[in-house]
Assembly symmetry: C2
Homo-oligomer: 241 residues x 2
C-alpha cells in the first residue's frame, strides 16, 4: 500500500463525528473499535483536505462510514487543548502499532503527523439508523452502535467529546426540531415520545406530550397503523418538509 498522503490535508486539524441513531428505545452512537492503541474505542473522524470546506469534510467522513448523503450535521464545539493528543496515554502505542501494521504506508513522518498535536472540530450527526450500513475506515477494526447508557472507555478525549455532543443534542432537539432525523419516514406519536424519553432519560406524560408535539404544527397525520395488537391503532405521522 502506498504511503499515507498527509500532504493533502490541513495539518493539526481534524474532525470527529458523533453519529447518533435510535433503535430499541435507546439513543445510540456509532463508534469504532480502533485497530491500534490496544483496541480501544474511538469516534469516527478524519482530516480536512486543503481545498475542502469543513462542512464538506464532515459530510465526506460521514458518507465513508455510513454510506449516506445529506445527513443532518451540526458543528458543536472545537477541542483544542494543547495536550489532548500529545499527553494521551494512547499516543505511543498507536504510533508503534501503526508502523508495525504497514511500514510502507506509515513511516516515521506519517506517524509523527498522525500523532502530533491536533485541534479537533466536533460535529454530531443524526441518522435514520435503519438506513445506515456501517463501513470500516482505514483505522477501524469494526464499527458498532452502542447505547449512550453503555459506553466503553474511549481513546484520547473522545469520551468528553461525546458528552459535550449529547449536551448539545439535548439543547437543540426541541428548539430546532431535529429529532425527526433520528426516526424513519413515518412513525407513531408514541415512537416520538420514546425517542424523547431516550434522549432526555426521563418520562413524559403521554397526553401532554402529544399535544405539545402536534401544536408545533410540523407533522402531518397519515393513515392508521394496524399492528394486530388488541388495542386502538395509532396514527402514523410524517414530518412536513
Amino acid at each position: 500500500m502506498k504511503k499515507f498522503d498527509d500532504d493533502r490535508y490541513i495539518s493539526h486539524l481534524s474532525i470527529d463525528c458523533v453519529i447518533f441513531g435510535y433503535r430499541d428505545k435507546e439513543l445510540k452512537v456509532l463508534i469504532s473499535k480502533f485497530k491500534f492503541g490496544k483496541g480501544s474505542w474511538s469516534l469516527p473522524g478524519g482530516y480536512i483536505l486543503k481545498t475542502e470546506g469543513i462542512d464538506k469534510a464532515a459530510s465526506r467522513i460521514l458518507k465513508e462510514r455510513t454510506g449516506l448523503e445529506n445527513i443532518y450535521l451540526e458543528q458543536f464545539r472545537v477541542f483544542g487543548d494543547e495536550n489532548r493528543i500529545v499527553n494521551s496515554r494512547y499516543k505511543d502505542t498507536i504510533k508503534s502499532e501503526l508502523t508495525k501494521f504497514d511500514p510502507q504506508r506509515f513511516d516515521a513522518d506519517v506517524t509523527d503527523w498522525l500523532t502530533s498535536r491536533f485541534v479537533c472540530i466536533g460535529y454530531y450527526a443524526l441518522v435514520d439508523i435503519s438506513k445506515v450500513n456501517p463501513q470500516n475506515g482505514e483505522f477501524d477494526e469494526y464499527l458498532e452502535w452502542r447505547s449512550i447508557r453503555d459506553l466503553p472507555e474511549m481513546i484520547h478525549d473522545h469520551s468528553e467529546i461525546l458528552t459535550v455532543a449529547l449536551d448539545a443534542l439535548r439543547q437543540n432537539l426541541d428548539q430546532k426540531l431535529i429529532g425527526f432525523n433520528l426516526l424513519p419516514e413515518t412513525f407513531t406519536m408514541r415512537e416520538v415520545q420514546e425517542l424523547y424519553e431516550a434522549v432526555y432519560n426521563r418520562p413524559f406524560v403521554i397526553t401532554n406530550f402529544q399535544k405539545k408535539i402536534l401544536d408545533l404544527n410540523v407533522l402531518e397525520r397519515l393513515e392508521k397503523k394496524f399492528t394486530g395488537a388488541a388495542n386502538k391503532a395509532p396514527y402514523l405521522y410524517r414530518f412536513k418538509k
Copy 2:
C-alpha cells in the same frame, strides 16, 4: 524588523474575536481599522501557537488588544468554508500592501502564508468596557468601539462572523447569566435592564424585568445609590460569585 515567524503557528487555523462591550445604552464591538486592504475594518484576531491550547490563544489575543486577563470568553462557531479567504476581494490588495509596508518582515512566503486558506475559530468576549485600554495589534491602524447598530463594511466574512456572534450572545445571555460581565462591579437594576434592551433591541416592562432578574437569585443588594436626582435612590447590586 525581522521576518514574521509563521513557523511558530499552526498553519491554516486562526482565531477571530468579537469583543462586546456596553456603554451609553448601546452594545458595542471592538473592531480594528485594518492597516491593509484599503483600510477596511476587521475583527481582532490571531494565530495559535503550536504548543498552545485554543482557549489560551484566544485569551492571549484578547490580552494583547484589551490589556485584560480573565475575560469571559465563549467559543461560538468555526468558519471553514474553503473560499472564505481565497476568494475574498481583499486578498490581493492585502498581499501587495503587506510587502510594500515591510518587505523584510513580509516576504513572499509570509504573505502567501497569511493570505492562504484559513479555518477560523470564532470566540466572543464580554468585557467591562471601562476597564479596556485598546492596544493596536500588528495589523491594526487603530481600534474602535462601534455600536452594533452602526457597523462598517468588514473584510472577508467578518460581518457574518459578527452576526453569528451576536446571535450566540442573545441565545446565551439569559441562559448562562453572562450579561453581568458587560457591567461594572456594581450596577442598578435599571442598568441591567438597559443592557438587556440594547442586546435584544426591544423594550422590557420595568416591573416584570426586575422581578425576573431578582428571582434568578444571583444578585446581592447593596446600599442605595444617591445620584442627586429628585427621585427615589435605586439600590446597587452586585453579581454573587
